[in-house]
């Protein structure tokens, strides 16, 4: 008989303990989770939970702004953050007042949509100086804050026009006549889009811009302008509009003239179900969506990054551009178009408590 050495015995005892004990330890761990998962989440919550994110669009009740608000609110509340929204109803004075009041409340992040490049820049600067991160959305001001989230309007215009050149340019066998329906001649979104459009259209000599008018974002104005244009130029090849809801009026005018199959109607917009309905009904030939839902998520991602980084507001500038997607009859479905959201209810000042 060989007698075991004490070392072997010790090792054997240890392995038995390990073999028996490991499942028990694992069992114990399964009941409370892995330490690393807890640590990661605790770190995340430390940076985000209880913080306040404020949203100041130009107006609510517009599908674009409502979708942003709805997405940011959902994302914020899931993380235990407070969501605050103000509605200036398209009034620049009210918007300035609302921003001043918001900045005074010292939220952690403000997401703001600028109606012009100068209106809010001083207040945004003050906000960052006092420690609030500022994310500018959709249209920027002259002051570059921590982050900008939005579509590249120049690129949107260029993409629209390049498709028009393919459809109506040299070698297409059409008249090459193009109509442009702008939103407002002085809105940044319009100015940058038209720059992109003309940049691409000017590259092809066969393209003639027969009408370049602003319809003030109103479908009825677009209808009246387009009715005259299609009547003067019955061989019109394409119509480009800078907002789907407005351009539906132009499409209707072309349909009333019986030319909806001949004229290619293009529009850019936020990609709500309204725009997709127009595509599916054959009113829009192609629609360029800057995916308001994705923009909302990008805005929240930017806010998350800023809060987790914890750098001093104003110390860096980041840009988050949304990828525009083409919608036509083949893909204008629920996967790519969001249902029109209900306008959010404005929250009371300073005492919005977290839901969970």
């Amino acid at each position: 008989m060989l007698r075991e050495s004490s070392l072997t015995g010790f090792i054997r005892a240890l392995s038995v303990t390990a073999l028996v004990g490991a499942p028990m330890v694992a069992l114990a761990q399964e009941e409370t989770g892995t330490k690393t998962a807890h640590e990661l989440r605790a770190d995340y919550d430390k940076n985000l939970k209880g913080k306040t994110i404020a949203f100041l669009p130009i107006a609510t009740g517009v599908p674009l702004m409502d979708e942003w608000g709805s997405v940011i609110k959902t994302e914020a509340e899931w993380r235990g953050m407070n969501f605050v929204i103000r509605d200036p109803n398209n009034n620049p004075a009210a918007m300035q007042q609302a921003l001043t009041a918001l900045v005074d409340e010292k939220p952690d992040v403000i997401v703001v949509q600028n109606p012009s490049v100068t209106l809010l820049q001083k207040e945004l600067k003050r906000a960052e100086a006092q420690g609030t991160h500022v994310i500018q959305m959709n249209m920027s001001s002259n002051y570059k804050s921590d982050a900008f989230v939005g579509a590249d309007w120049f690129e949107v215009g260029r993409m629209l026009a390049e498709d028009v050149v393919k459809a109506c340019g040299t070698g297409s066998g059409t008249s090459g006549k193009v109509q442009i329906v702008q939103g407002e001649l002085t809105a940044a979104a319009s100015v940058d889009q038209i720059a992109g459009v003309m940049d691409a259209l000017n590259k092809d000599k066969a393209i003639k811009v027969v009408s370049n008018q602003a319809a003030q974002w109103d479908a009825n104005n677009a209808l009246n302008i387009t009715a005259t244009v299609i009547q003067q130029h019955p061989d019109l090849c394409a119509s480009i509009g800078f907002w789907g809801i407005m351009q539906s009026g132009a499409a209707q005018a072309i349909r009333n003239a019986g030319k909806i199959d001949q004229v290619k109607v293009y529009a850019s917009g936020e990609g709500s179900q309204l725009d997709c309905d127009q595509v599916n009904q054959g009113n829009f030939y192609k629609f360029l969506s800057y995916t308001a839902g994705e923009q909302g998520r990008d805005a929240f991602l930017a806010a998350e990054a800023l809060l987790e980084n914890d750098a001093k507001p104003g110390s860096s500038h980041r840009e988050y551009y949304t990828r525009p997607i083409w919608l036509d009859k083949s893909n204008a479905n629920a996967a790519n178009c969001y249902p029109v959201p209900k306008p959010p209810t404005p929250t009371a000042a300073a005492d919005a408590t977290p839901k969970k």
């Binding site: 001649l185 008018q213 109103d218 009825n220």
Partner: protein, 337 residues
């Protein structure tokens, strides 16, 4: 209108004698004819039947709204909620159709909403004696908010499968677009009402001198309510044409300049804001002038900022012309001309 001898008769300039015999609507009509001739000669593509029909079609909705506004201004009132009534009632109606309401009843719903608001406006102005300007301004705001609450839609689209509903806007009869025929019919009925019925004459009396009208036995309060209900009904009619033609109704037009365009064509055509003056022809003349300018500008591709400037200048010229033609003195300012 004839020349009235007044304190300034001794020192009237020759040009005032020449044009003073003409009313403002006649001057505006003459100006329109001059512009039409000018554009026909100078602008290729303007003087075609199709373009002129398009011109008439483009002013039809404005004209129907102008008939309503003209009626209320003749009676020395004003209705700033006309566009709000049109947009709010039709937005609610159009959002009810996908929820199961048949198109006919949706149209009736829109009319009911319009008439109810018209009744409210009328009662406020006639019985509470609140100033019409503020009552209708407040009503416009209330409609804007309430429509969003009930309809929850920034833009409501006309149904695709209701051809009767959209016929007034989109249809054609004898080669003429329906909006023009609807406007013509409404204008004829309004003209007959104002000129040949006693109620029409009472409306002029009310606008010219409400106190005298009341003293001679005209029932002013029911008359006022009737006027505001008529404006509301015309707003509904304009909306019916609007949804057929444009295919949608946007609530944003309530906050835009549409209501001021309506007041523009009314004042331009010679319906003075002091009341008691003008008629359907004024509205038609004002619409024709504005329509001619806008049509020509679109053909010339003039940008909308310049268009706005010119519209403003035209309105200023009209007001100054009105002042020069009908100089106000102590007597006429109070009692009308």
């Amino acid at each position: 209108m004839t020349m009235q001898p007044d304190a300034t008769a001794g020192r009237l300039e020759p040009w005032r004698l020449a044009v003073g015999g003409l009313s403002q609507e006649q001057i505006v009509a003459a100006l329109t004819v001059v512009l039409l001739l000018g554009f026909s000669l100078g602008l290729p593509g303007f003087a075609t039947t199709a373009n002129l029909l398009d011109l008439l079609r483009s002013i039809s909705k404005l004209g129907i709204l102008g008939l309503g506004m003209g009626l209320i201004v003749i009676s020395r009132g004003i209705d700033l909620s006309e566009v709000a009534m049109m947009a709010g009632s039709w937005c609610v109606a159009l959002t009810a159709i996908p929820r199961g309401l048949p198109p006919f009843w949706a149209a009736v719903l829109a009319l009911t909403i319009c008439v109810a608001i018209g009744l409210f406006n009328g009662v406020m102005v006639a019985f509470i004696e609140a100033p019409a300007l503020f009552v209708t301004l407040a009503t416009a705001y209330v409609i804007y908010g309430a429509a969003f609450w009930f309809a929850s839609a920034f833009v409501a689209y006309a149904p695709l499968d209701a051809p009767e509903l959209v016929f007034a806007g989109r249809g054609m009869l004898l080669g003429i677009p329906m909006p023009i025929l609807v406007f013509a019919a409404a204008a004829s009925v309004m003209h007959a009402f104002l000129s040949w019925t006693s109620i029409g004459r009472f409306i002029y009396a009310q606008g010219d001198n409400p106190e005298a009208a009341r003293l001679t036995g005209v029932a002013l309060r029911p008359l006022t309510i009737l006027e505001y209900v008529l404006v509301a009904a015309l707003a509904w009619l304009a909306g019916l044409v609007w949804i057929g033609e444009t295919g949608s109704m946007q609530m944003a037009i309530v906050q835009g300049s549409t209501i001021f365009d309506v007041i523009l064509v009314v004042v331009l055509g010679g319906i003075s804001l002091v009341g008691g003056r003008g008629g359907v022809f004024s509205v038609v003349a004002g619409c024709a002038l504005i329509g001619t300018l806008l049509n020509a500008f679109t053909i010339m591709n003039v940008n909308s900022e310049v268009q706005n400037i010119i519209r403003g200048v035209v309105l200023l010229v009209a007001i100054i012309l009105d002042n020069l033609l009908h100089p106000r003195d102590e007597e006429t300012a109070r009692q009308g001309d």
